[in-house]
């Protein structure tokens, strides 16, 4: 039976790698990236995937091989009576430590781009204020004067429009409980926190419609707190804003 069990453990790296090879061609895997910063995240994902994949295969194959090779039922060699090896301990402490430290430092720039280098701090005006509320996304655009909180603000729900290839600055808020502003194709995720206004910035590189997902549990209706992101040309975007404003004025 030792052979059977060894092979069972060998099936772990085989299927483990197999699933990740099979996945992308069957629609599982990172969705298409349409953001300016997303390639950094995808690159890191792939980098870590390959690195951990190698460690995974190596350790699991070693596990298999030792089980196969040192099965008491098939090999009568005496056990290697040892309590460990100082040199090995040093090696397998320092190598992973260096690798982990490298990953830690390597990723810092990408993190800073998405979460630290806030263009709002350099005076960029807010493009749109997004407020999570059970169970919808309330949107407020500054209107022609470029300022929020003036009478020409444009209000809308769940249907977020932005111009393509332009830096967008979102002011993210919550009216009641935690929500999370998740744009899978734009590699953006940020909790909306009651009592806080959190800046979120990104640049979309392709026009189209994308899902706006609420990714933080916000109550029974969490699953249906769905919005849509429309990325369009500057011209279409301006026209949409004008139409929205006109429609809003008409109902006043």
């Amino acid at each position: 039976m030792g052979r059977f069990w060894s092979l069972l453990f060998l099936s772990v790296p085989i299927f483990g790698v197999g699933v990740f090879v099979w996945a992308p061609s069957h629609g599982y895997g990172l969705p298409k990236d349409v953001s300016a910063h997303g390639h950094q995240i995808d690159h890191l994902w792939n980098f870590i995937l390959i690195l951990t994949g190698l460690v995974f295969v190596a350790t699991e194959v070693v596990l298999f091989w030792f089980l196969w090779r040192y099965d008491a039922a098939r090999h009568a060699d005496p056990v290697k009576y040892t309590h460990g090896s100082h040199n090995l301990e040093v090696i397998w402490t320092i190598l992973p430590a260096a690798t982990l430290l490298f990953i830690a430092i390597y990723q810092m720039n990408a993190w800073a781009d998405v979460k630290i280098r806030n263009p709002g701090a350099e005076g960029m005006p807010i493009t749109v204020e997004v407020t999570g509320r059970q169970f919808e996304w309330r949107l407020r655009y500054p209107g022609k004067d470029g300022k929020l909180g003036t009478p020409d603000d444009i209000y809308h729900v769940n249907d977020l429009h932005i111009p393509v290839n332009e830096e967008i600055l979102v002011a993210l808020k919550s009216a009641d409980v935690l929500h999370d502003f998740f744009l899978p194709e734009l590699r953006i995720k940020q909790d909306a926190v009651p009592g806080m206004q959190i800046p979120v910035w990104f640049k979309a590189t392709e026009t189209g419609w994308y899902d706006l997902v609420c990714a933080e549990l916000c109550g029974w209706g969490h699953y249906k707190m769905k919005g849509r992101l429309t990325v369009e040309s500057r011209k279409d975007y301006d026209k949409w804003l004008d139409d929205m404003y006109a429609a809003q004025e008409a109902t006043k």
Binding site: G27, D77, Y81, R187
Partner: protein
Amino acid sequence: MSSHAIGSHAHEMAHAGEHGHAAGFLGTYVFSRDHKVIGIQFLFSTLLWFVVGGLLALAVRWQLAWPWKEMPIVGPMLFSAEGGQISPEFYTMLFTMHASVMIFFVIIPILAGAFGNFLIPLMIGADDMAFPTLNMLSYWFMWPAFLCMTLSFFVPGGAAAAGWTGYPTLAAVWTAAPGSEMGQTLWLLGLIFVGVSSMMGSVNYLTTIIQMRAPGMTMFRLPMTIWAMFITAVLQAFALPVLTAALFMQLLDRTVGTGFFIPEGLVVNNTSAGAGGGQTLLWQHLFWFYSHPAVYIMILPAMGMVSDIISCFARKPLFGYKPMVYSICGIAGLGFIVWGHHMFMSGMNPYLGMGFMVSTMMIALPSAVKVFNWLGTIWGARIQFTTPMLFALSFVSMFIIGGLSGIFMAATPVDIFIHDTYFIVGHIHYVLFGGTAFGVFGGIYFWFPKMFGRMMNEFWGKVHFFLSFVFFNGTFYTMHILGAGGFPRRLADPYHYASFRDMQPLNQFMTICALAMGASQLIFVANFFYSMFFGPKVGRNPWHANTLEWFAPTPPGHGNFDMQPIVYRGPYEYGSPEVDTDYYPQTQPPPEGHEHTGDAGHH
């Protein structure tokens, strides 16, 4: 060491005087102060809750595979009003209670409560815990918690439904969700009782391990199981007060309107949430300050047990005993400064996120060291593929996956994408099911003969292992690629989103695997109960193991040992050239001329 002998002996005398006469059924089996009975009480209670938690999980899986479809058999019974389908309110309650039950009623108490209680005095050569009455109380304090949680299913609004993390304001404001009515209050009360129970346990374990070791049992002759229990108790003792404070604060927010976690002027579901003035993120900091160390509370004891089992069935000393001990200590130390990795997307200062990222990366290191040492242990071994060994090996194999997938989340930019997706769900189940639960199964098969005096059936044990292993991977491995597609957690109907619609067939496959995995556990249940009464009787040391519990009679009577154990060496002297047998119990006096050798760590 002589002070130990006298102390322990005096204790034994006092103990015998106390319990000398028959204590009656209630005293022996119900309100027992014997650590073994308490351990077995914990074992049965937690296994029962394991069934509850598992069924809740299967209902979650049902909804993810066939949303809004009538559940077979149980559907019409539970939700006849909704046409037998799971409602979205009920779905949020299902995953909240699944996690709460599994973490607070199964994993933590089965490791510390069941195995900790049963094994600590036996493995260190003590006749009982340092504080037997406190020990009994620590078990009975679980019952108010059991009661609160059970009751919460039947109160208006149903059980808690704000996630096992209980994040305000969803959890703290009554109007935020049906489960945030009475259910959440009962949830908080339940957790407070669990905390009190754990606190009593950890104080007891620390005292017992420090004070009551048998003569010759130095700290560096303790088996890894005991080291892990010791460090776990330290973690509990330092982290629990913070959680308890947080639980009380949320309780006060909910009952008297203190507003610790509620900002000013909040209106939830058209109702004012009170005066406010608080911070929702504060809860997350306090909660994770406990709940990250809790991740280690939930795995370190299993790591310890796995180390003991692997060395025993490799018939070879544990590779790198001291590095193993140091890495447990390292995990515990670092474990207190990584909690922020649960909050990378929370709105916490992103610079702070960077700091937590570095500490989180480094905590992967001791885990890696442990894996390498387990591999070192089976190198050059003579491996016996028993059921406990298979479960212990699968712990290593699955923990490699769970450990490596953690690096993705520690990498903050990658976490932006995978946070709150099924990648995380896959990760924690590799650590807590593939890791801890498999370790626990290994522990049960391994120590069952000591607990009940009979062996479990090996053939059915292996069938149970094989099916659990295969279906576990079928259920959880694919979660990683769901997560890679951005598939979010906690959605009652993810297929509502165009992005995730194509992922339903894979979810159906996973659900079928989960159902099969659940069904496979029936083999374990049958084997467990059949063996308890009809399994072959065994002597003291059926596995030819070295540690002290195997020196005690099987099953051990009151006071554990019929002879005072004296410890001559470390617990992993398998295959020692000093003796003819391939094991060398800690209590066996060395042959003439070998008095100074055979200690673990001397080489």
